[in-house]
């Protein structure tokens, strides 16, 4: 069974977003997503300053088997991409909710969070 932490929001496309009190958030992919991808070999991430609308492609994750687009759960501006994934992309397989966060962003429209799945809603589609 895959791990679905209670304190995150989720997309149908298997991204998670964790929002902090200051309006910033971190985004990654779920345990279910990393298991489905298998061994991750590369994560293609945007530079700081890039902006994305909700549902827009912000990057891609490559595994031995396939490349999958990454979709932004909300409208946001990228503050930082996780540089450690450059050297250790397999962190995505080992710590999908921790060390393998992908981008840190400024959430532009917090109202969009209400349109995302909660843990129970996400677990229900797996």
């Amino acid at each position: 069974m895959s791990n679905v932490p209670a304190d995150l929001h989720y997309t149908k496309d298997h991204e998670w977003i964790k929002v902090a009190a200051d309006g910033t958030a971190v985004i990654g992919i779920t345990d279910h997503a990393q298991a489905a991808l298998g061994d991750v070999t590369f994560v293609d991430l945007p530079k700081a300053g890039k902006t994305f609308g909700a549902g827009e492609v912000f990057g891609a994750v490559e595994s031995v088997k396939a490349a999958s687009d990454l979709y932004s759960p909300v409208s946001c501006e990228v503050l930082e991409a996780n540089g450690s994934l450059n050297d250790t992309p397999d962190l995505v397989n080992r710590e999908p909710y921790g060390g393998a966060w992908m981008i840190k962003v400024k959430v532009r429209n917090p109202g969009e969070l209400a349109g995302l799945l909660d843990a129970a809603g996400y677990a229900a589609i797996l």
């Binding site: 298998g38 070999t41 590369f42 891609a60 396939a66 490349a67």
Partner: protein, 363 residues
Amino acid sequence: MSEPLARTPLHALHVELGARIVPFAGWEMPVQYAGIIEEHQAVRKAAGLFDVSHMGEARVRGRDAAAFLDRIMTNDMASIRPGMARYTVMCQPDGGCVDDLIVYRFSETEFLICLNASNAAKDIAWMRSLIGPFKVEVLDECAAWAQLAIQGPLAERILGLATALPLGTIKRFGFAVGEVAGASGCVVSRTGYTGSAGFEIYLPAASAEKVARALLALGKPHGLVPAGLGARDSLRLEANYPLYGHEISERISPIQAGLGWTVKFAKGEFVGREALRRQAEGGPAASVVLFSLDDRRIARQGAQVYAGETPVGEVLSGTHSPTLNKPIGTALVAAGYTGSAELTVDIRGNRIPLRIAVEPFVK
């Protein structure tokens, strides 16, 4: 409508071992157990056990068996000695590939042919359609056989724990028939699809699970792991072995695929000879190249290859090479560009330089 998927005799074992099962060529097959990279490394450093029971088998026998096979295959069949096997392509009249195969010779008049799973039914119908005046019969034995591949530097030591067959005397592409893990009638050949040493075992389907369990238990202390189709693909690509539907197909001939060594024009008439001769003499319009990328992105099947802004080809296979720790692949590239140092491949809008390899990445 799609047919229901077939299961190999090892299906229950795969589930028990925690395999991820995927549809492949009409079969439910294990794509990975512990992980593709880990299984790949195990084969390069110790050994892996693959269930390749989806592969098909046909027996060709009769007074004219050798002459018949020489007529339908590109490689020389008559000169195969009993107890030896040979890799060959079977072509259409236009030179496109019906399939690539391994032909095992049991006697003057009896051969067993290993067929790709996706082509097995087509191959058998094709062979039968060409029998004509030849005194030969083509028997469909796909359901009778299971196949295991034990591959890696420790494969021979591990297999030796399960059989009294004199493995050390089996030459490359040679085979012996005997008992493995108590199952009689097994065909053990020094062949493989990984670029590492090892054997392939054809065994009666009913014995497959018993033999696989015995090998896994005997091999575990030596590092033997079950390995899936994912590792099989990255292993074969490092070794530059073609996969039907990718490097060879009905539209890519053995000459284009760099398999000219399997085409023996001197042996006389065979299906596809004239078309292949024209390609060999005039040079094919496009040929298959092996490449690596100095990047982390993988160029997948269908990605476009460019020389400057001119599209000159497309990627046929692409994966991550655990041995090189970078992306590798094959591409079909138009004549005149295969030696170019300035080829690039488009991956999601990025143009990545293609580094053409002149030799396989593993020997």
